[in-house]
Amino acid sequence: MTVKYEKAKAIEKEHIIMDGVDVSGHWNRMFEQRTIFEYTPELIEKIADIPDAESFANCYQCAKCVAVCPVDVVGNYGPRKLYRYAQTGLDLTEASELWLCTTCANCLRVCPKEVNMVKIMPAAREQAILDGKFVPAELQQAFENTAKSGNPLGQPQRKRDAWIKESGVEVPIMKDLGRKVNVLWYVGSYPSYHPRGIDAASAAARIFTALGIDFAVLGKEEKDDADSQRLAGEKGLFEMMAEHNIETFNKYEWDELVVTGPHELNAFKNVYPKYGFERPVVHYTTFLARHLDQLKPLLKHPVNKKITYHDPCYLGRHNGEYEAPRQLLEAIPGVELVEMARNRQNGYCCGGGGGGMWMDSFTAKHTTMRLSEKRAMEAASTGADVLAVACPFEVSRFEDAVKSTGNEHVGVLDILELLDKSMRGE
């Protein structure tokens, strides 16, 4: 009879010199402890004692979360596992695992015990930051950029409205307009600064203009919503930004706030109300779907493409909007809409949420591929020519991902860009 022994995992430093002696590679090999010598309920309590993180203690190990965790699909992760790691000696506040969750909420969707990582993660991360524990450097940089420049990209505030001239239409700025508007359009940081974001912002400006919407933007007065910074643990920074934005919003008269990004939607609709801001907020897809009758006659040029749509976590699962983006795509003549296997409520996360947008290098060390790459491959497998998105984080993420996975033939376009193409022809 043969007995199969499971080997312990080797821990090996690639390059290490000790006392002048090179002991790289197998010379320093250690083996991971296999036997559990202690259980640590106190480390579960440590997390569950943090306000908002109470539900961490609820896990009864059914593991429904693991199969739908986008990080587990490309690595080894999931709320159930975090609970067990804590029970067997891991202090989550000082572990790399603390920074891998994208707060996509797919685990919460299936969790029978309502273990809520969307609340646990920001609370535990805030604790880690307050205690001076490890924070990924690139995330730290995004925090500093936001604090210093008003946006995570670190771009100057005075250039926040520089994109307007590229749109080719007139975009009124509230400060100059001096009157009430129907729509206050919050452009967002990536659409204001990122080259591919600017493409979407310009398209939006042209669409709003063509529809005859009475709109204006905040221009140089607009600052980042900071919701992702909050989810990444920087509540203080979030509150500072919220205070500024709420003050700016309240300075002007407008009926409805339209946002380009789902994270901004989440911030203004679900979080800012806790800070006294309670006004109507919609994502641009919802807004434009409402104007579909006026929009359709403008979509004159066919876009003969097979298109698959990626549900942004913060538009879909977090805010329940699944249909408006699809209605807009289907309104474009020539478009054939195909679905990826994971869609709507079970949409696969691009990896950008919860601060993931600024931790790609860090996350890459703990996963076999990026979440955006996994999703790009799913998009390609539908045979689609275009991966359509509705979140400003996504265009750059997926453009990198289609390239790195050898799927350059799949174009990545914001729904705004596709509508604009159909409106103007190419």
């Binding site: 559990i36 010598f37 203690a57 067990r84």
Partner: protein
């Protein structure tokens, strides 16, 4: 000569409820109890809190006893044992010995409510060392300590800081012969774990299990609060060795969700012992000539399996844990049905 009397054997929760219900239905009841007092196993084994509304066990048992004894149609005979039976439904002659004196009773129907006993952990095939290490105790032992608010390690009288419950001791085990689930131990262990955390807030309490088999509402009433509010830790993977280590206990097993061996020291180990038929249940089955199942409990269910109080002898019914593992809800519910059937049986014969 046919009799309209209902004989209830056993003064625990099931017997008390059967007696009260039968009397309220108009039956004339004789209740036999082997001990000098009523209340059954919860009373004899000093149960602290019941899973039902966290009620004090003595108070709840006293309430059941009073409800039976206050009924003028219930006659209680203490320190009584059944010695023999003859006759048939409607006309049984039951020989008893009450306080040393032999007596013969003529009754129309009989309800057996002789209950269960806790599994003797010395019989476990695993190496738990119950009779060797003082700090290895059972649910029953811990229940007494909880009742007295004096949970200490028997070895040194100090409060334990780390306590492990080991589930399924004597249950779900083909080798031991008890293949059934004892139904209540997951709930009782969780209940005791909550009480431990209330009485010893600095203690770490862990429950090692194969499956947590909660019982309907016990899921949300006991298991969830134990975990969520009292931070009791549940670890899948049962222990199969308890060894000495210094003045502590070393428990060994496999943590199955981690696929890793575990060797953890504990101050106290609580064996979640299951249910077996009581000596009284085994004896009464022999005396009355009632069929037992392969585990020694009274065979119940009738031909179609839908008559949970019917035994192999017409006119003889079973209530409570004499028919198999049951919690108070089950025991009392079955007692009410047994009472209804016993009274109906007498009326049919009398009519």
């Amino acid at each position: 000569m046919s009799s309209n009397k209902v004989l209830v054997i056993g003064g625990g929760p099931a017997g008390l409820e059967a007696a009260r219900s039968a009397a309220e239905l108009g039956g004339e009841v004789i209740l036999l109890e082997k001990r000098e007092r009523l209340g059954g196993t919860p009373d004899r084994e000093s149960y602290a809190k019941l899973t039902h509304h966290w009620r004090d066990a003595s108070e709840a048992m006293a309430e059941l006893a009073t409800a039976a004894t206050n009924n003028p149609n219930v006659e209680v005979k203490y320190q009584t044992e059944v010695k023999g039976m003859s006759g048939r439904a409607g006309n049984f002659t039951v020989d008893i010995e009450a306080g040393g004196a032999a007596e013969s009773l003529n009754v129309g129907s009989i309800i057996i409510a002789t209950g269960f006993q806790h599994f003797d952990p010395g019989r476990a095939t695993q190496y738990y060392n119950y009779y060797t290490f003082p700090d290895v105790i059972t649910l029953t032992d811990l229940e007494k300590m909880l009742k007295e608010h004096n949970v200490v390690r028997p070895s040194n009288g100090e409060a334990p800081k780390k306590i492990a419950f080991i589930q399924c001791v004597g249950s779900r085990d083909r080798q031991i012969g008890n293949e059934y689930c004892s139904k209540v131990c997951c709930g009782i262990a969780s209940k005791q774990a909550i009480e431990l955390r209330q009485q010893l807030p600095d203690s770490k309490v862990m429950i090692f299990y194969i499956d947590m088999r909660m019982y309907g509402y016990w899921e949300n009433e006991i298991y969830w609060p134990a975990q969520e509010k009292y931070k009791v830790n549940y670890i899948k993977g049962v222990i199969s060795e308890v060894l000495p280590k210094g003045n502590q206990l070393l428990i060994r097993g496999e943590d199955t969700t981690m696929s890793r061996p575990m060797e953890v020291t504990m101050d106290m180990v609580v064996l979640s012992v299951g249910m077996e038929p009581s000596a009284g249940t085994r004896a009464i089955a022999q005396t009355l000539g009632i069929q037992q199942n392969k585990y020694g409990f009274i065979e119940a269910g009738g031909d179609g399996g839908l008559d949970p109080v019917a035994t192999s002898v017409p006119g003889v019914f079973v209530a409570g844990a004499a028919a198999g593992p049951a919690d108070l809800d089950d025991s009392i519910s079955r007692a009410g049905l047994a009472a209804a059937r016993a009274v109906a049986s007498v009326r049919k014969v009398m009519a």
